[in-house]
Symmetry: C2
Subunit: 119 residues, 2 copies
Amino acid sequence: MQDVCTVNQTVRYLARKWTLLIILELYKGQGHTRRFTELKEALGGITQKVLAERLRELEHEGIVTRRVDATDFPVRTEYTLTESGLALVDVVRGIKAWALAWKVENATCGNQDCSVCVL
Amino acid sequence: MQDVCTVNQTVRYLARKWTLLIILELYKGQGHTRRFTELKEALGGITQKVLAERLRELEHEGIVTRRVDATDFPVRTEYTLTESGLALVDVVRGIKAWALAWKVENATCGNQDCSVCVL
DNA sequence: CAGAATCCCCTCAGATACTG
DNA sequence: CAGTATCTGAGGGGATTCTG
C-alpha cells in the first residue's frame, strides 16, 4: 500500500537497525570509504550477518558502492558513499536539526552527543 | 545501543507503517486537524488498533495533540499537528526532494504521485 | 578477510470481538 | 464514535558455525 512510495521506503531502510550508524561511519572515513572489518569494529556489537545485509541494501539503493581488491590475499573490500549517499547525509542533518529544535531533552545517542556529532 | 539517539528514534517511528500517511492526512485537514474516523476512512485499510497506536505514539512524541469534545454524544475527538509536527513535515519534504533527485524511477506511492503530492 | 547458512526469539501489524 | 483486548502470522535481528 504505502510500500511503493519512495519516501516511505527511504525512511524505512534508514530506520533499520545500524543503517544510520553505518552511513555515519562511512561518512567519517577517508574519501567516505571504509572496509568491512573497519565498519565492524567501529560499530561494536554488530554481527557480520547484519552488517553484510545492511551493506547489500545500501548498495542496492545506490547509496554505497562496493569495490573488491583481489590482487592479493586476503581480499580487501571497500565500501564508499555515493553522491546520493552524501546527499542523504544532508537529509539526516535535517532530521538532526529538527531533533535538536524539538527534542532537546534527550539528544544523545549511544556513540556520541548529537551536539558534537559529525553531522 | 543506537535506540537512545533521538535522530534514530525519529526515523524509527516515521518508518512505522501508516505513520507518514497519518501525518500527511492531518496536514491536509482544516487547521491541520482530523477526527479519528476521518483518518480511518481517508487511510483505507488501517485498523482501529493500529490507528490508535500510531496516534498515541505521535501524541507522546509531541507531534500531535488530542482534543476530546464531550459536550454531546457521541464523543468527538480531534487530532491536530503541533508546531513540531509541522516542522517535521518540512523534514519529510527534504526526504521527498532527495527521493525525487535520486530515485526518480519509482516515485509513486499507493495514494498519489510524489510529483503531485501535497508535500 | 569478508562473508553465507542456520536457528531462535521478539516485535510489529492484521483480524476479530467487545465497550463507554 | 472512539477506542481496548486478544490472538496469530510474518519479518527483523542476534548468536553461532562454516568457507573461499
